[in-house]
């Protein structure tokens, strides 16, 4: 379990580095997919296969497909040799400082009483997740549902044609 955790973590980090350093958009998206799958495997290794499977289904299986779709449809070519901004050290200063603060906070939080915990691979089943979501977290779930519903209505409104073209051209099903 621990080996799997560290291996998939390493893959996730490397894939993310590949994602931000590559020049071809499609290759970058493929790296992102690998990264997401690696994160899902981290979930598996931690004993949360439900979260891992959902990560793959939702992120890798649906959202990233849309990314790839758009990238392919725009048919972006690898960027020509442009001086990559991110290779200049000056640009690293700010993000590094911010990340350092986060790292300090993370180490402090881990050291604060949670030390000594190991990955025991205890399974969190779908039933547990369902009971947690619709028990203590019910309000949050409902709020998220309302948010998504609002997004759905908005998308359907934005995507609607200005003038309904009547039954004649309504498309395929009839």
């Amino acid at each position: 379990m621990e080996l799997g955790f560290y291996l998939s973590g390493l893959v996730a980090v490397l894939a993310t580095v590949g994602l931000i350093s590559g020049s071809s958009p499609v290759h970058a998206v493929v790296y992102l997919i690998v990264s997401l799958i690696a994160v899902a495997l981290v979930f598996f290794a931690l004993g949360a296969p439900f979260a891992g499977a959902l990560e793959i289904i939702v992120y890798a299986g649906a959202i990233m497909v849309l990314f790839v779709f758009v990238v392919m449809m725009l048919n972006l070519r690898p960027e020509a040799k442009r001086d990559p901004l991110w290779q200049r050290p000056g640009y690293w200063l700010g993000p590094s400082l911010l990340a350092l603060v986060l790292l300090v906070a993370l180490v402090a939080l881990i050291g604060d009483g949670q030390a000594g915990m190991t990955i025991d691979g205890e399974l969190i089943t779908a039933r547990d997740i369902g009971l947690t979501l619709f028990g203590p977290w019910l309000i949050v779930v409902e709020l998220a549902a309302i948010l998504l519903l609002a997004a759905l209505v908005t998308a359907s409104h934005v995507g609607r044609r200005n003038k309904p073209r009547g039954n004649r051209n309504r498309g395929g099903t009839r």
Binding site: V30, P49, I56, I57, A62, T173
Partner: protein
């Protein structure tokens, strides 16, 4: 004999089972290429391939020899690494899904409690094989096929998952063994008929079989996403499609038709019989139905199948809540 522990024996036995199931699936997938041609011939008043060996039984070997020795050509304009990756992904992702399917009470690779979700996740990954293969080929037709495949699979996977949730709700588990056990008295095809129909449609669409083969439509796209593939790389796409057929058939049997359950005959025979019936249905669909226009496929998925699955899920939930089971 200190190293021979029961645990080691169990591990070895599980590995042996996995190996046998893997080989069986690949062999069935390869044999289906010939069986399909024979059956299509049968339904078109022909014989189909009957030249190699007695009654054409050695046709499979001839095909394999041919495909192994064909030139494995990578076009110079292709994106090489991704071009190589795509067929492996197509083959592996579907093959890996067999991990969750219980063949008989004693046989099966893994007993995962998220079984169905695992299948849905791998079906999601399977799209990338088509997408990446189509893009990496550097060919217009391949790209068009890949774009169609992505839109189609995305739309149909939405209600594929939803159509299975009725079954999950009735069985109370994602685990396929539990689902089979829950069908002891009544196969789920009766209470979940809408779920069965929509899952069948989605399964056909996700495996790009006729009549949902828009991504590889020969007449419009000259074979779509695998236009540039040849030799064994094409073979992996090709066999992968049949492995997908076997997978969807086995899943339908497991989820809706009681899996290995059945009177008199041993479980493995029941499982094989039911699965072959659905494989035959796949081929019959190809023999009889024309390919609809692409926009009709999309609007059928979103306007008909998705509402049907939602209604099915709501009704199932309501009935389960009222009966209190």
């Amino acid at each position: 004999m200190s190293w021979w522990t029961p645990q080691l024996a169990a591990t070895l036995w599980a590995m042996f089972q996995a190996l046998v199931i893997l080989l069986a699936v690949v062999v069935v997938g390869a044999a289906l290429t010939v069986v399909e041609r024979r059956l299509l011939g049968l339904w078109q008043d022909r014989y189909g391939p009957n030249r190699v060996g007695p009654f054409g039984t050695l046709q499979l070997i001839a095909d394999m020899l041919k495909i192994f020795f064909k030139e494995d050509w990578t076009p110079p304009f292709a994106s090489r690494a991704l071009f190589m990756l795509a067929p492996n992904l197509a083959f592996a992702s579907l093959l890996l899904s067999f991990v969750i399917i219980p063949i008989t009470p004693g046989w099966g690779v893994a007993d995962m409690h998220i079984g169905l979700l695992f299948f849905l996740a791998l079906a999601g990954i399977n799209v990338y094989a088509v997408l990446i293969g189509g893009w990496a080929s550097g060919n217009k037709y391949a790209l068009l096929g890949a774009l169609r495949a992505s839109a189609q699979t995305l739309s149909y996977e939405v209600f594929m998952g939803l159509s299975l949730m009725g079954v999950v709700a009735m069985a109370g588990s994602f685990n396929l063994r539990d689902i089979v056990a829950a069908q002891e008295g009544l196969w789920f095809v009766i209470p979940q008929f809408l779920g069965f129909v929509t899952f069948l449609i989605a399964g056909i669409a996700v495996t790009h079989r006729h009549p949902f083969d828009q991504p590889e439509a020969e007449q419009e796209l000259a074979d779509g996403y695998h236009v540039e593939y040849s030799g064994m790389k094409f073979g992996m796409f090709f066999i992968g499609e049949y492995v997908g057929m076997v997978l969807v058939s086995a899943l339908i049997v497991t989820l809706f038709f009681g899996g290995w359950q059945g009177p008199w005959l041993p479980p493995i025979v029941w499982f094989a019989l039911k699965t072959s019936f659905f494989l035959m249905l796949f081929i019959l669909l190809r023999a009889s139905l024309p390919r609809p226009r692409y926009d009709r496929v999309m609007s059928f998925g979103w306007r008909v199948c998705l509402p049907l699955t939602l209604v099915n899920l709501l009704a199932t939930g309501a009935v389960l809540l009222l009966t209190g089971s």
